[in-house]
Symmetry: C2
Subunit: 378 residues, 2 copies
């Protein structure tokens, strides 16, 4: 068995006063303090762009050293925006191996020190296929716009139908102290917001931000432990032009199936969900891939309140990638850290009542990789 | 138990006709063919600079996709020049966990498509500390030159004393078909070679090259399996200016201690060694950290022939990083792939007679991370 025994994270935002290491250290020290653990057997860092954005690779050693933990084995795991989830999964695997008793997982991304070239959009585009996508000018907003356009065509949707998810996410984030965008938005705000890549708007898009989140995981159960009951990962074809179905996240379907099987659960057993809503359409596709909504119907269910904090099945009660924020390599760790707080009744004003089990979906690229974690109250 | 059941690699060199994916695919298909395995449960890619040099992150998914294996969980592990060794270790951990039966490890680096800025030296400098080293102009040749100068001072050595290791490595590489620099060098050649960063010369330095190596590892033993009996990793302080001893590789000492303990072996039980001789002085420090030579005496032992292919303890029989080549993130996988061929008596003209156990040391930065693997004939 693998348990989460502590979590910590920084506020997300334009944190000019923090370096990459500062972010990682703050989150890690909070997680260590929360877990009452003094030392760990391994460190796994989830990060995507430290090489391109911060001229810093060898990030495992750099962060171990910054923590005063030189000596401890430490690596960086990269899986684009899915780096954080991948880091948790591989750390959990190491606990299951019996080789390590405890591990520190740190997701970190420092996105605001990039001055000119490569800018953030170019740096993030390294998650796309360099030969068939990014070298031809495709960026993540434009790739998601293509997917959104196809999704609209398939299901006869209007642009307005995409407003419901960001409206809910912004509403939820108001209560999350660490969230980047703590203000409500209205349908009118959404429709007034500029196109980034038509039909995708500014208010469909998660913000650029700095942040770090950390978990202490262990084979030992403590008072406030939450169990990692299952996990799974999968990849998919990277270039969307080579996929046979543009609006289906096969990696999420497969990863969720593997995670649920490992946890001996079905999706209807889940009480709380974290989805990867980097763009509104991705949020909808996440819900579909989990089997929570029929294809093309997610907008109706979101608008109807099913996924509100007090709804049928709460989704992203802290505001998701859209409003809590999306420091890319850190996001997967934020998701599980927030579930940990929820399942140990410490989520403050974001608390969901009575949740026993939760699922987190973290993806990379346009779904070319995904990891899914299932957590359960002990 | 974890076994290596197949290995494959490309020639190392300036492979203009290969893309990053081409390299990975060639090595992986060879390893799969060698192992007679058709599918694997996970892929772990060791790579350092695909983001900075090739504008390609999300490398796990990109390579799984290129192999026609979309669906299989796949991540990139980054630990600077130690990425390959780290990838093997974490793949082995996943086999030990019982979660996966088989895994494909691919180390790959495509270093020759970088046209201007960042050039290779800058890209490699991301393995140093960005705040205290690389941003101040320190490159890996200059950092190693500082270490070399200190080592010379401590032990009263001349520049000539560093020639013995590259001379041996070049001699060994002549017999390795996949090696990048298949020619002998003399002491005179060494002393005539230009300084890169005084006192470190061109012929102290491993070359820039493209290459990929792959392993199929599994919980199942096959006919030509070689056992991974032990492994260990460690980090050290990253900036050399903050280390208390500039000429001691504590990460290697610690990683080797952990690996030997796991394998229930002592260093005197080892018959064959792979060291990380990115620069001559690093090669000497590797031998010292393993406890194979007294500090400051490595040059005498190398010159005396102790580490020749038919010597007391063969070291890098294929020519090491210096002459076989050093495609950074691939190097650790080449080392273990070569041990696999040695211990299954398929190393051709590089074959060492009668070796039963072998050790591989792969480091990142100036030793800020290290992984050590111990393999044993089944």
């Amino acid at each position: 068995m693998v348990y989460v025994n502590g979590a910590g994270f920084t506020k997300i935002g334009l944190l000019w006063e923090y370096s990459l290491e500062d972010l990682a250290v703050e989150a890690a020290l909070k997680a260590l303090e929360d877990s009452e653990v003094k030392s760990v057997d391994a460190i796994v860092v989830g990060n995507m762009t430290s090489g391109v954005m911060n001229s810093q690779e060898n990030l495992g050693a750099v962060i171990a050293d910054s923590l005063g933990m030189a000596g401890v084995p430490s690596i960086k795991v990269e899986a684009a925006c899915g780096s954080g989830g991948a880091a948790i999964m591989w750390a959990a695997i190491s606990i299951m191996s019996g080789l390590f008793d405890s591990a520190l997982v740190i997701g970190v991304e420092k996105m605001t020190d990039v001055t000119d070239i490569p800018d953030q959009t170019s740096a993030l585009a390294t998650a796309a296929n360099a030969r068939y996508e990014s070298s031809l000018g495709a960026s993540f907003p434009s790739l998601n716009a293509l997917i959104m356009r196809e999704y609209m065509k398939e299901h006869g949707l209007s642009e307005e139908d995409f407003a419901h998810l960001p409206i809910l996410m912004h509403k939820n984030a108001v209560d999350a102290k660490h969230a980047q965008l703590r203000f409500r938005i209205s349908l009118e705000d959404y429709l007034k917001s500029p196109y980034i890549s038509e039909p995708l708007r500014l208010l469909d898009s998660s913000p650029i931000g700095d942040g770090a989140a950390a978990l202490v995981i262990s084979s030992r159960r403590a008072d406030e432990s939450v169990e990692i009951s299952g996990f799974g990962a999968a990849t998919d074809v990277v270039s969307i032009c080579q996929r046979d179905d543009l609006t289906r996240l096969r990696s999420v379907e497969l990863a969720a199936k593997r995670a649920l099987k490992m946890a001996h659960l079905e999706i209807r057993d889940i009480d709380l969900v974290q989805i990867h809503d980097a763009f509104s359409v991705m949020g909808y596709l996440n819900l579909e891939a989990l089997g929570l909504v029929e294809r093309g119907k997610a907008h109706i269910r979101v608008e109807g309140g099913d996924f509100n904090r007090d709804g049928w099945l709460p989704v992203n009660p802290e505001g998701g990638l859209k409003a809590r924020g999306h420091p890319v390599g850190a996001t997967g760790v934020y998701q599980v850290a927030e579930i940990y707080l929820q399942l140990s009744d410490r989520a403050g004003r974001c608390q969901v009542e009575g949740a026993e089990t939760a699922i987190a979906v973290n993806i990379g690229g346009t779904g070319s990789n995904a990891s899914v974690h299932i957590l359960r109250r002990c």
